[in-house]
């Protein structure tokens, strides 16, 4: 908790996030869906959206040993409303600053969103949220290219 409070006191007035996406030229796509009511076609659209976003930014997809860009969707139970927690994360192997410079898997970008929706609007709301998360990712990419 204290760590979180301290992090809140470190900030920027000008930037997208404290992540650094410089040099990212390839990524693989992974979608984790834990929302039962979401249509399979929506999950496919999410994959397509990520692929198109990456290709537009000249990032190769489906390459061996590339970092993974993941969208995960998790539902928090409600009565008639669906509450969904969405995460867009980039995970990759990194070398740490530990005493033996251990290599480990790390999250090097994260954007999150929390939405609520009724069942009829669920798929559209989820796709809107994915667009928002991908926009945050692109903003960070472009900022780090400057």
């Amino acid at each position: 908790m204290r760590y979180l409070l301290l992090l809140l006191l470190t900030y920027s007035l000008y930037a997208a996030g404290f992540w650094t996406l410089s040099g990212l030229d390839k990524a693989n796509i992974y979608v984790v869906n834990k929302v039962d009511y979401l249509e399979a076609s929506t999950v496919n659209i999410i994959r397509t959206k990520i692929k198109q976003t990456l290709e537009k930014e000249s990032i190769k997809v489906n390459v061996q040993d590339a970092p993974t860009l993941m969208v995960s969707l998790e539902e928090i139970e409600g009565d008639e409303t669906h509450y969904i927690y969405l995460k867009l994360e980039l995970g990759e192997e990194v070398k740490t600053f530990r005493k033996d410079f251990t290599e480990t898997f790390a999250i090097t970008f994260q954007a999150t969103d929390f939405i609520e929706s009724d069942e009829q609007e669920l798929d559209a709301t989820v796709l809107e949220s994915v667009d928002y998360l991908l926009a945050k990712f692109v903003e960070q990419l472009q900022e780090d290219k400057e």
């Binding site: 760590y3 301290l6 992090l7 006191l9 470190t10 900030y11 920027s12 007035l13 000008y14 930037a15 404290f18 650094t20 600053f97 005493k99 900022e143 780090d144 400057e146």
Partner: protein, 142 residues
């Protein structure tokens, strides 16, 4: 007791290592008094960068802004640079420069030891260069 002391010393060395490494590679001073004397001798303002080891914005500010070519060449020419950690170096610089918000940069007039310009938070290199120019103009009209 001896073991505790060694452990403490080791942990301080490990915590301090990143900022020490950064200072060494970029030519930043680590001691306030030494930097102040140097600034006075060269008639340049002292730039104190206050960061913290838990602060991701500080690391990004160092990597992307302070280490960029244009900013680096300005700093080498116009100021004396000092980097301190707000927690681990807290005894080594005046309390008036202590702050809750990081990263924070103070530009200090070395003759009176007071800051005349500050920046707060991560700033992109292009914007930071503008601020450096503003600072330079202010210092010249001191």
């Amino acid at each position: 007791m001896r073991n505790i002391f060694i452990l403490l010393l080791l942990s301080l060395t490990l915590f301090g290592s990143n900022v020490d490494k950064y200072a060494k590679s970029e030519g930043f001073e680590r001691d306030y008094q030494t930097a102040l004397l140097k600034a006075k001798k060269k008639n340049k303002p002292l730039m104190l960068v206050l960061g913290a080891d838990y602060c991701p914005w500080c690391r990004k500010f160092e990597r992307k802004t302070l280490s960029s070519d244009n900013v680096k060449s300005f700093l080498n020419k116009e100021v004396i640079t000092l980097v301190v950690d707000k927690k681990f170096d807290k005894e080594s610089f005046p309390k008036r420069f202590q702050t809750n918000i990081t990263p924070k940069v103070f530009f200090i007039n070395p003759y009176i030891g007071k800051d005349f310009y500050q920046t707060v938070g991560y700033i992109k290199k292009k914007d930071f260069l503008k601020k450096l120019e503003e600072m330079k103009t202010l210092y010249k009209g001191k």
